[in-house]
Amino acid sequence: MRVGYYPGCSLQGSGREYSESLFAVAEKCGIVLEEINDWNCCGASAAHTLNHDLSVALPARTLALAEKQGLEQILVPCAACFSRLATAQQELVSSEAMKTKISDYLEMPVQGSARILTVFEFLQEHIFPVADQYIVNKLNHKTACYYGCLLSRPKDLTRLERPEDPMEMEAVMEKAGAEPIDWAFKTECCGAGLSVSRTDIVAKLSAKIVEDAVSRGAESIVVACPMCQMNLDLRRKEINKQMDQGSDIPVMFVTQALGLSMGISADKLGLNRHFVSTGKVVSCVGRKEV
């Protein structure tokens, strides 16, 4: 089965280690990801805030290109991109009028027929069946799996069994030999798109998340969204000011953690690109270089 791939803009910029580690893991497991030719930005919060039609048309262009390429499955690792693509698809599929209107805007046909995979679905369906033979290390430490908003909600898009207390990421971390903790903030919002325009709010919301993870004994926070990663990592100085005691708990992508357990080097997984050092987690692994 061919697996299409939509990186989205973050994964080419501030979240590039998400893409690097995803590709490293996929390569190890012999899975080829086929990038959608000439994809464009999903429009993110800005489009749905300012113009509804644009918020459907931008993702729809990418969906139309994927259809042209004959891709029946598309992996969208970024939580925000996933939400925008899946929302646009839902609108296209549920209304012929919308489909016609958007096709006219785009000047190309669009059906919205491809299956859009979250990173968890991709890992479960494509990586898990072969993963065990490649896992050589145990990430012996306590970890807090942080989902944030758009990988949890709304449940008709994310298809999680337990949207208030999901366990999909825990399953990955257990495979990687880590010990996921039970905690209260796994689906709370980090402040997302207000990172630049209202940094104060992001610091406040993210501080509650970091504080809860740390107070329950977590030694790392694992994420699957580039916005969550950026807010918890890049904004740590501002976050620490909101906490009684600052914290240097690292924030990794779930694919980086899985890659470490497969013995892929920290360098290749982009673990040197973080603002809060990931050294503690890397050193707790009996790491073997590839």
Binding site: G13, S14, C41, H52, L54, Y105, L106, R153, I201
Partner: protein, 186 residues
Amino acid sequence: MDNTTTHSGALSLKQEVEQAVGVEVQTCYQCGKCTAGCPLNEEMDLMPNQILRMLQSEYPGYENEILSSTSIWLCLACDTCYSRCPQEVKLPQVMDFLRQESIRRKLVNPKAKNILQFHKAFLAEVERNGKLNELGLTIDYKLHSLNLFQDLQKAPSMLFKGKLGLIPHKVQNTAEIKKLFKKIKG
């Protein structure tokens, strides 16, 4: 109800919301779960359930009060309210519509101007290149919001860590994206 319409023949804000979003605001029975779960309730001037109540009651002046609130701009579209709503009121979509209407009627709260400016800078960058380049977005936002020095100390380390590209990513034919924007925005 005569006081529901702003001027003769025009739809009231409540009617517009219902038509655009496909919700019936009367289905809300004010349980308050949306407000209880909202991560930004402490920052808001109108609570989410209050906005729905105002739409339901349509008391005089409610339209301007909602459209000039900061709440509609602070909403992060995190979907917690919608996920927990026993009546499945699509509050995040209602907020989207209210923001667009607030711009159209020129009622945007001055305290929300940076948030709006960030969204505009974001879309302007997508319109230029078809893709979002964080450097282009940051420069555009700084110039328009005049927050020139904010986060400046973060730029060198982002560059060093390879997180800030200097050469913008673009779609093959940027004219195609510009045309799409023009058709939709008019």
